[in-house]
């Protein structure tokens, strides 16, 4: 189920290694995942659409997202989390920002020929997201799986607004998005993310560096300026949407320990037996 394009980082350690925490004994709760009653009445009033981001989703599964600027190490952390969850028998589905086939062609064309404006850039990503919401996020969530999302709508809220689209508009566009059970925000200073990116692949990508915004003709300088804006907006979003900040300058295993303990919290009443099917062979290696 895993898609490609993940960072090729393999962990040597087993899930029982130093960084591992004990998962909560997955106690089957009789009612499944208990959710607070939805506070969103079906209003017919002609106002801004009520965003689903404001209320918890009603499904049995869990939605866990990672956010952060490029080079924050979020994909690495998500990979380590996935290893751990799988090793403990949790059914996991991974989905990644900008990975839907639906708009791949337009996105490539737009990026290569520099046809994208902030608005179309934003809308193409919204198509990608809506497509994955339908095919990649909702079905596993309804089936009670753990959905791991490498980037979520907050990426759009941060990047697209840094590019100049209206913050309320982009929130309205993404209003069909479900609220994650947990959003981990990997906070890192620009210099460290730059260092990581430059040592890894030596060249910054055009849009990643925000070259399209025209802040500077020097990619490194442009990255610094553009991602500083993004970082600033991310910080505001942390409070607005209750993202859990993680110090992404810490050692990888230390970060992972924090990640796993936060995930543990949201799995407290998760029904692992049910998630693996009625007579499911739990592949729990305990």
């Amino acid at each position: 189920m895993r898609e490609k394009n993940r960072p090729a980082i393999e962990t040597a350690g087993s899930p029982g290694g130093a960084a591992a925490l004990e998962l909560p004994a997955a106690v089957p709760s009789p009612n499944g995942h208990v959710t607070p009653p939805s506070a969103a009445p079906k209003s017919a009033a002609r106002t801004a659409p009520k965003s689903l981001l404001e209320t918890p989703h009603p499904y049995r599964g869990r939605l866990i997202c990672v956010e952060g600027i490029d080079g924050s190490g979020k994909s690495t952390q998500l990979l380590l989390l996935e290893r751990w969850l799988r090793a403990h028998g949790y059914p996991v589905h991974f989905t990644e920002w900008n990975s839907s086939r639906l708009v791949r062609h337009s996105m490539q064309r737009g990026k290569k020929k520099n046809l994208l404006t902030p608005t179309t850039f934003s809308l193409l990503h919204a198509v990608d997201f809506a497509d994955r919401l339908t095919y990649q996020i909702l079905p596993p969530l309804k089936a009670g799986m753990i959905v791991l999302a490498d980037r979520y709508v907050y990426t759009a809220f941060a990047r697209d607004v840094a590019r100049g689209v209206h913050p309320e508009w982009v929130r309205a566009v993404y209003s069909p998005a479900l609220r994650p059970d947990l959003t981990l925000y990997f906070r890192v200073p620009i210099d460290i993310s730059l260092e990581r990116l430059l040592s890894g692949r030596a060249k910054l990508k055009y849009h990643e560096a925000g070259m399209d915004v025209g802040l500077s003709t020097d990619p490194v300088e442009s990255f610094r300026m553009f991602q500083s804006r993004v970082l600033e907006i991310y910080d505001q979003l942390t409070t607005e949407f209750g993202m859990r900040p993680i110090d992404a300058t810490a050692e990888i295993p230390d970060q992972q320990r924090v990640v796993r303990s936060m995930v543990q919290e949201i799995l407290r009443d998760y029904d692992l037996k049910r998630a693996n099917g009625k007579n499911g062979v739990t592949s729990q290696p305990r």
Binding site: R46, T47, P49, T119, L123, D131, T134, Y135, V173, P176
Partner: protein
């Protein structure tokens, strides 16, 4: 040069904050109407007339953006679209044309004739069951047209035109809505709903409605009458070719 009295343009919603407030001396004319009603034929006739009157004309049409037209066609062929992705693809197509075709042409003083505008999305999305408020928010980046000419027709008159034209197609018959297994029945139901929706929008947004059942020439004459009326009002002068908008840029 700046003497014309063209009404100030307004954005439908939040607009495009990253585009500086630029002067848009051109005119944005939207031609709306359902599939097969004869929009393109009428637009083809309008263009030479306007050019003869001295106006520079630029055309733009629904799903014709260089960025997305292929993607939309592929996606339609693959049947993997949902109401939401459908709407967003249309919005992306629209935004692409808005920023790359419509706004530059308006800045240059052209008359932009839009074959379908955001109202098409409003009508279709309502019929397909998308949240109408959401659709309208998404199209908040749109510029409000100076004039919307609506080609009005009833479904009984529409059917023979479509059959004798390019035939009933899967999407325009609303087959994706599973209204029935029969193409004809589905077309009739889907288009009736669309037409109801268009009429509602017509009164909400003040379209100028013309009877699309008229013969081509008569319909064209109607459209020209309304356009000429608008243009003389906009330029403050009765003779269209003395207007300073289109004429001055045309000579360049």
């Amino acid at each position: 040069m700046a003497s014309h009295r063209s009404r100030a343009k307004t954005w439908y919603g939040h607009g495009l904050p990253h585009i500086a407030k630029k002067r848009l001396p051109g005119h944005l004319i939207a031609i709306e109407g359902t599939d097969g009603v004869g929009r393109s034929a009428q637009i083809e006739l309008l263009r030479p007339w306007l050019e003869l009157e001295g106006y520079a004309v630029s055309n733009t049409g629904w799903t014709r953006s260089p960025l997305l037209s292929e993607t939309i066609n592929e996606a339609k062929a693959g049947h993997q679209l949902t109401v939401t992705t459908f709407s967003l693809l249309y919005a992306a197509d629209f935004a692409d044309r808005l920023e790359h075709e419509i706004l530059p042409a308006l800045q240059a003083g052209f008359i932009v004739i839009a074959d379908r505008y955001m109202y098409t999305a409003f009508a279709r999305n309502s019929v397909m069951g998308a949240d109408p408020d959401w659709t309208r928010e998404v199209f908040g980046m749109a510029l409000v047209p100076d004039l919307v000419l609506y080609l009005d027709i009833d479904v009984e008159s529409l059917i023979p035109r479509v059959i004798m034209g390019k035939g009933m197609d899967y999407w325009e018959s609303g087959m994706h809505l599973a209204l029935g297994t029969d193409l004809f029945d589905s077309f009739e139901r889907y288009q009736s709903r669309l037409l109801d929706e268009y009429r509602r929008l017509s009164s909400e947004f003040g379209f100028i409605s013309v009877d699309a059942r008229l013969p081509i020439e008569e319909l064209q004459a109607e459209l020209r009458k309304h356009l000429a009326e608008y243009l003389s009002g906009a330029s403050g002068k009765p003779r269209p070719d003395s207007g300073d908008n289109g004429a001055s840029t045309h000579k360049e």
